[in-house]
């Protein structure tokens, strides 16, 4: 009765081989490497880049263990970190002749030393979390209200423009929250405005109400449009972050959306948090506004008198006050490109700007109406505006225009960069930050590893001493459980963290429960006088229901952690849940297989090696 059919042994053998195969890459460790990837869409990384990398390394006299093309990057592996650093310098010099205009990113990286044939079956080591490899982790919160307010502001501007084009009379047009309010003189105008909204402003829905003799119209942004604005703001910010992080030269940055308004950024290996934060935190938005050139504004600018209604005081980059109109003509959203260059006639440095079609129309109207007046470009960082430049409008502008005059080349470069970088759709705040030094990462690995190893050894010794052969089999089952757990985590390419390693230790500690249940049950059957074969059979059969029950309750707890946990708790929960599932396989299926193999064929089994089966002297059972 204690025999497995051949297919069951086959399933066991195949599972073990596959598990071993996928666990294997974790033992090879990691080698220092340099990763070359493209910074611009125009430069492609391909076989020719591999050739250039190989040649540059040969010229510098650094020997690479391997140079491979992997997706969009070339990776060169080295034997020592020293060679890695030398190679990085050499590659930087060879591939990036002009540091001010880099086309490639050359970054330090770690790659697995596992042989190619393992990689070809997608057997890859577990990805180590930041707490094990060192690096920085940021969680950024996007200020969605700011994005919505901005959208409402620009809609209000567009609406004003459209009303004027159609010569519709309106009063008191203001933005209020996520809606635009105005007063209209009569029903006919209100109807016309509603028609206009339907035709040109699909994002707005209008509601009218009587306001004395006049009609009050509230146009609010539709909920789906609000969602779209939020979605786009997040996407645009992620893209901008990607570009900025590329400046840092990080090998495998993680930039992910979390929830509806958060972005997680993980930069493994980065230690210079100050620079990272500086680059990430450059949360800027751009606005173009007209300079208020009225007499009152002039007075306010010089003497600090009252700022006229509908205007605001700003300071420019030299710290001088400047009064700008509140109305935003154009936002950074419309700006598609900003490049430094030289004016062909005057040979003066300039910045070329390109705006989208809607922006071009606005620019044309604004410039026609405000010829020879000044237009300011304001950069908002953390809610504080700074006037980058306030040039005089020299002619009617269109889609493309330039800012020139009284600028050095460096200033032009700076301005272009600021204008480009200013295209974050909404400001962001760092709400969580973690930095882990590389030495601490290595220590954490050692600590997690030691905990698992010593706990495992102690349990196996105890089990073998207490349950003899059955204990040894339980210990083997536990080893298989660990193997399966690591294999599944490697297959899933899960991120291993210190809490994950703790979960691994705990999973082993809990998994032995099933074997204890079985062994105790077998002993009990023997105690009650069952024949050895029958005792083994009954022991496994009766323990199974209990094992299932207890694992399911543990699994419920694990799933709750998985669903509601975040960050470190998630890592714990993933390993915990997988550990429970693999333990059912190893503790029941695998250990039974071994027992069957050992005892199953012995027809006249007299005794089993399961330690002392103590029988009470006198039967006390009723």
């Amino acid at each position: 009765m204690n025999r497995y059919p051949i297919w069951k042994y086959l399933v066991l053998a195949v599972t073990l081989v596959i598990a071993a195969l996928y666990t294997l890459p974790n033992f090879f460790g990691e080698a220092p490497a340099v990763q070359v990837s493209s910074l611009k869409a125009m430069t492609k990384v391909d076989e020719s880049t591999v050739g250039r990398v190989e040649e540059a390394l040969k010229n510098a006299g650094v020997k690479a263990e391997e140079v491979v093309l992997d997706g969009n990057s070339v990776r060169a592996r080295f034997d020592t970190p020293d060679n890695q650093l030398r190679a990085k310098d050499a590659l930087q010099k060879a591939l990036i002749p002009d540091p001010s205009n880099p086309t490639f990113i050359v970054a330090l990286n770690l790659v697995s030393r596992s042989p190619t044939w393992l990689r070809s079956v997608h057997a890859m080591p577990m990805y180590l979390g930041l707490d094990l490899r060192g690096g920085v982790h940021f969680m950024l919160q996007v200020d969605m209200q700011a994005a919505l307010t901005k959208r409402a502001d620009s809609l209000a501007g567009d609406l004003r423009l459209a009303l004027r084009e159609k010569s519709l009379r309106y009063e008191d047009l203001v933005r209020d929250g996520n809606s635009v309010q105005m007063r209209l003189p009569d029903q006919a105008t209100a109807n016309a405005v509603e028609r206009l909204l339907q035709e040109q402003f699909a994002d707005l829905q209008a509601r009218t109400s009587a306001d004395g003799a006049k009609i009050r119209l509230v146009a609010s942004i539709r909920p789906e449009a609000l969602r779209k604005v939020q979605d786009q703001a997040l996407k645009q910010n992620i893209t901008t972050l990607h570009n900025r992080i590329n400046e840092l030269g990080v090998s495998e940055p993680v930039i992910q959306q979390q929830g509806i308004d958060r972005i997680v950024v993980q930069l493994p290996g980065v230690q210079d948090t100050a620079k990272a934060k500086d680059i990430l935190g450059r949360t800027a938005t751009l606005e173009m506004r007209l300079v208020d050139e009225s007499a009152e504004a002039r007075a306010a600018e010089i003497g600090g008198g009252l700022v006229p209604f509908n205007s605001e005081r700003f300071i420019d980059r030299e710290g001088r006050p400047i009064i700008l109109k509140k109305r935003v003509e154009l936002t950074g959203e419309s700006l598609t490109d900003a490049q430094p260059g030289f004016d062909s006639q005057t040979q003066q440095p300039k910045v070329d700007l390109t705006v989208d079609a809607k922006g071009g129309r606005i620019m044309r109207d604004v410039s026609r109406e405000n010829l020879k007046k000044r237009m300011a470009i304001v950069l908002f960082e953390k809610g504080k505006g700074e006037v980058l430049t306030a040039p005089v409008i020299q002619g009617e502008l269109g889609n493309r225009f330039q800012i020139s005059g009284s600028m050095s080349t460096v200033e032009a470069n700076d301005l272009a960069l600021l204008l480009r970088a200013g295209s974050l759709a909404a400001p962001m705040d760092i709400i969580e930050e973690r930095t882990i030094g590389p030495s601490l990462g290595a220590e954490n690995i050692a600590k997690g590893f030691n905990s698992v190893t010593w706990g495992f050894v102690a349990i196996v010794i105890f089990m073998a001493a207490y349950y003899m052969l059955f204990g040894l089999i339980s210990g083997l089952a536990l080893a298989v459980n660990l193997l399966l757990l690591v294999a599944v985590l490697s297959m899933l390419q899960a991120t291993l963290t210190l809490p994950g390693m703790a979960a691994m230790a705990l999973a082993l500690g809990m998994a032995i429960d099933s074997n204890v249940l079985i062994n105790e049950r077998v002993r009990e059957e023997l105690r009650n006088g069952a024949a050895p074969q029958a005792a083994i059979h009954a022991g496994y059969e009766r323990a199974w229901a209990t094992i299932l029950d207890s694992n399911i309750t543990t699994l419920i707890a694990g799933l709750a952690l998985l669903i509601f946990g975040s960050g470190p708790v998630r890592g714990f929960a993933v390993v915990h849940c997988i550990g429970i599932v693999t333990s059912m396989f190893s503790a029941v299926f695998f250990s039974r297989g071994l027992v069957n193999l050992w005892y199953g064929r012995q027809k006249k089994l007299k005794s089993v090696s399961i330690g002392t089966v103590w029988r009470p002297g006198a039967s006390t059972k009723p």
Partner: protein, 318 residues
């Protein structure tokens, strides 16, 4: 080897009142300390900045404290972390201050007074995250409790579900009571440990309930008290050994896991110890007082068919 040479069933239920009184007193004490002292929450819940720095020699905590305080931070906590050379600095969340710059500012000042200092780890958590984590933690706890109750009620009987949850929630409260009394740091990892241990020690009750059900089927002449006593006695060796094995693992974490895993392992240790106590002494007793009877577990449908009520297989028909 055999640790448990128990001749006759131990009359656990005869002393149930004493055990439950002990439980109740511990529970009340735990609640008392939770309310009077409160939990020492980690910055994950409170928000703030945490820095772990390392010196080449033993660190002078007083000096570090005064150096950090000189920057104008109030309520700064400075303590050793693991070894005498490692120092953990906790700065509270300050509204309106650019918290992201805090760690650099502190590092610069510390470096000025002792150049050997190196930054090992920083953690900054905004105050908005903390509230969410606390809410999510409570949600997770609620899901575990409800999930386990539904499962047990479905698999066994509502009286078991209620008593298992009472027994194990009392464990959770006692773990929290320990953390409140000793003012150990309550972090996300500890919360994970508490929930894991909740799921784990419910196992214990499940095993005993399983045996109670089996005994009801097998020993038709025993009364409920005898059945429960027999079930606990025959599972006690398994209970102690499996918890012992798990505890070996947890002990290994406690010893080798370093300061990061220390409180995690500590919470598990307390949870495992009280898990044994509550499943053995509390869970079954509560079920007994809820009026557990043979008919709750063995549906009387089989008797209608005129079968022998003493047929040992009668209970197998569901």
């Amino acid at each position: 080897m055999e640790f448990f040479k128990i001749g006759r069933d131990i009359p656990f239920m005869r002393h149930a009142k004493v055990f439950n009184a002990i439980s109740l007193i511990t529970f009340v004490l735990a609640v008392f300390f939770l309310f009077t002292r409160g939990l020492h929450l980690s910055i994950e819940f409170t928000g703030g900045t945490l820095m772990e720095v390392s010196y080449s020699q033993s660190a002078d905590l007083g000096k570090v404290r005064s150096t950090v305080a000189s920057l104008g931070y109030t309520d700064v906590q400075v303590q050793n972390f693991g070894t005498a050379r490692d120092v953990m600095i906790r700065l509270p969340a300050q509204k309106g201050v650019s918290t992201t710059q805090q760690s650099e500012q502190v590092m610069q000042t510390l470096r000025a007074s002792d150049a050997s200092v190196t930054l090992r780890r920083t953690e900054f958590v905004g105050p908005q995250i903390g509230d969410e984590l606390a809410a999510d933690g409570l949600k997770a706890l609620a899901m575990v409790v409800v999930g386990i109750m539904i499962y047990l009620a479905f698999r066994f009987e509502w009286k078991f579900a209620v008593s298992a949850i009472i027994a194990n929630l009392h464990d959770v409260v006692i773990i929290l009571g320990f953390f409140a009394f000793f003012q150990w740091e309550f972090s996300l990892a500890v919360l994970a440990a508490v929930l894991a241990v909740l799921g784990y020690s419910v196992n214990e009750s499940v095993v005993i309930f399983d045996r109670i059900r089996e005994n009801f089927r097998r020993y038709r002449k025993m009364n409920t008290v005898q059945i429960i006593d027999n079930a606990i006695t025959s599972t006690i060796s398994r209970t102690i050994i499996t918890h012992g094995s798990t505890q070996i693992m947890v002990l290994s974490m406690l010893l080798f896991g370093g300061p990061t895993l220390f409180y995690f392992a500590l919470a598990l240790t307390i949870g495992i110890c009280f898990g044994i106590y509550s499943s053995v002494f509390v869970a079954a007793a509560v079920a007994m007082w809820l009026g557990l009877e043979r008919e709750d577990l063995i549906k009387p449908t089989s008797r209608k068919d005129g079968q022998d009520p003493n047929d040992p297989n009668a209970g197998a028909v569901v």
